[in-house]
């Protein structure tokens, strides 16, 4: 980590040891101090109230600073002109915005009602009550007696304390020695508080959403795993129960395939059945003069058929269910009648389906 530096009115200076947890220390010469009593404001609203109060009091439109909260709800605030300090810091360092801490936070607590300490670019008088900082007065040059008296009036210091502090002014000529801040402090500024709040709130919201998503997915996963566990047992039981039926079905299908193959070789009713059907449908007195069967097609020629009974014969042939088509073929001889009959194919009606 690079050593801390002090932003002074003339630029950056190395900070006195020890190193502090801040990139930059803002010289007291660039800061203003004010104490705000916000004890009457609810704790949850104090930060926003303080920001509004500082905005009203601050002579800088673009201010930044630090705040230390007392237990009694008072805020000790140091502010500076953010743009000017940033410009001074970047003038030398050429770096982006850094953590900045006001110089008075590094000076240690005062032990008396009033003290005067040396700072980077002058002297600082501080008045305390019950160990709590009440007011500060900065002197860019060593104060004269007249300046001191005026400052004591502004600080509302008692005469005794003012005299005693004046007596110690000589010992405050030594260069300042920084120490770690004893009070907990936080940064505050005019423009970034809401943005910071939004960013932090966005982080919290995102984290909450992710946690919710994780919980939901976890619950869904547990539910899915539980269902799968139950399914595993149920599936095994169902497979056991269905196994005999599946085996029987497969056997039936195999047998049906073979029966269908036989039907492919011999798809028509037997020759005897076809001959019986034709003989049984003959009208009285009719004689078969020729009968031919060729691959399921019967061609028969009748002699002496009764013309009025031809229709009955066709009906009887159709009713036999052995023929899919019954046709009378024209013949040149009125004494003969020719029929062409197509036998029903087992392949067409799937009669072998089990």
């Amino acid at each position: 980590m690079s050593p801390s530096q002090v932003v002074c009115t003339d630029g950056l200076r190395p900070a006195p040891l020890p190193k502090v947890r801040a990139d930059l220390v803002v010289s007291r010469a660039l800061t203003l101090f004010q104490r705000f009593d916000l004890a009457s404001v609810p704790r949850s609203r104090r930060k926003e109230a303080l920001r509004l109060a500082i905005s009203e009091w601050s002579p800088f439109e673009d201010w930044a600073g630090a705040v230390v909260w007392s237990e009694r709800g008072a805020a000790m605030v140091w502010i500076w002109e953010a743009g000017r300090v940033a410009a001074l810091a970047q003038l030398e360092a050429g770096r982006a915005a850094k953590t900045m801490m006001p110089e008075p936070l590094l000076l240690g607590p005062g032990g008396a009602e009033l003290d005067c300490v040396r700072v980077a670019e002058g002297w600082l008088a501080r008045r305390y009550r019950d160990g709590e900082l009440q007011a500060e007065c900065f002197f860019a040059t060593r104060p004269s007696a007249k300046d001191w008296a005026a400052a004591m009036i502004a600080l509302d210091a008692s005469t005794g304390a003012a005299d005693s502090a004046w007596a110690t002014l000589d010992s405050a000529d030594a260069p300042p020695c920084y120490s770690a801040p004893t009070a907990r402090w936080e940064a505050i500024d005019a423009t970034r508080s809401s943005a910071r709040f939004s960013a932090e709130r966005a982080v919290l919201l995102a984290a909450a959403a992710l946690v919710l998503g994780t919980l939901w997915l976890g619950a869904e996963t547990l539910r899915d795993l539980r269902i799968r566990h139950l399914q595993k047992a149920e599936l095994a039981a169902a497979e056991r129960q269905a196994e005999p039926q599946k085996a029987a079905r497969q056997q039936a299908f195999d047998a049906a395939d073979r029966l269908r193959a036989w039907a492919t070789l011999d798809p028509f009713p037997s020759a005897l059945m076809l001959l019986n059907a034709v003989a049984g449908s003959l009208p009285p007195g009719a004689v078969v003069s020729e009968y031919r069967l060729d691959r399921g097609v019967v061609r028969a020629t009748l002699s002496n058929p009764g013309a009025r009974q031809t229709g009955d014969m066709v009906t009887r042939l159709q009713d036999s269910k052995l023929f899919s088509s019954v046709r009378v073929v024209p013949s040149g001889d009125p004494r003969t009648l020719r029929f062409e009959l197509e036998a029903v194919s087992a392949l067409g009606v799937e009669s072998v389906k089990p």
Binding site: I227, Q241, A242, W262, L265, D294, R295
Partner: protein, 203 residues
């Protein structure tokens, strides 16, 4: 330790660093959630498929008619299989069919019967209705033998002969039949018989 201390220091002091790391962590976390969600979706789909499979199996288990159907189909098949004779060669099959047809004709009383056997290629069906190799392969047939029978036509012997064919001692089917009744009437029949190839006897 110094590096670690510096890292801790940076973490405490640099808000941008913290926000950046939070953002990276959130993105990785979100990516993990998306991958998890994809896995869960696939798992849910698989769960649904298993549920459908269970429902199908239960429906199949409730179909109690299959054993009876299988028994019926096997019985019908057994009847047909018994009608198919096994021979070692095509010649034996042709001889068997010729003898059997001659015997049936004589038993039926056909007069002047003549039986001629046509050659049939091994395993090649004579009449298969277009599916030339299918049924043979399914049924494991070795030979199909075609035979023609010619005899004088007399109604009763012809009926008896046809009835004998239908009785089922041999798996034969009529391809064509011609009857010319009257004086000098003729009866002609073309049949096909199926044979299985018998395993050759070991020497």
């Amino acid at each position: 330790m110094k590096v670690w201390g510096d890292l801790v220091e940076q973490w405490r002091e640099r808000r941008t660093l913290r926000l950046g790391i939070y953002a990276v962590g959130a993105i990785l976390w979100l990516q993990g959630l998306l991958v998890w969600h994809d896995w869960l979706t696939a798992s849910a789909r698989e769960t649904l498929q298993i549920a459908q499979r269970i429902a199908r199996l239960k429906a199949e288990a409730a179909e109690s008619q299959w054993p009876q159907r299988a028994t019926d189909a096997r019985s019908r098949l057994a009847v047909i299989d018994r009608q198919v004779t096994q021979t070692e060669t095509l010649g034996l099959a042709q001889a068997d069919l010729q003898d059997w047809l001659g015997a049936q004709a004589a038993r039926a009383g056909l007069t002047n019967p003549t039986v001629t056997v046509a050659g049939a290629a091994q395993g090649a069906p004579v009449s298969t209705g277009g599916e030339r190799q299918g049924p043979d392969r399914v049924l494991g047939l070795g030979f199909q033998v075609q035979a023609q029978l010619r005899a004088d036509f007399k109604p009763l012997p012809v009926y008896d002969f046809l009835a004998a064919l239908e009785k089922g001692e041999r798996r034969v089917w009529v391809e064509s039949m011609s009857i010319r009744p009257g004086a000098g009437g003729r009866f002609e029949l073309s049949v096909v018989a199926a044979y299985r190839r018998a395993p050759k006897a070991s020497q």
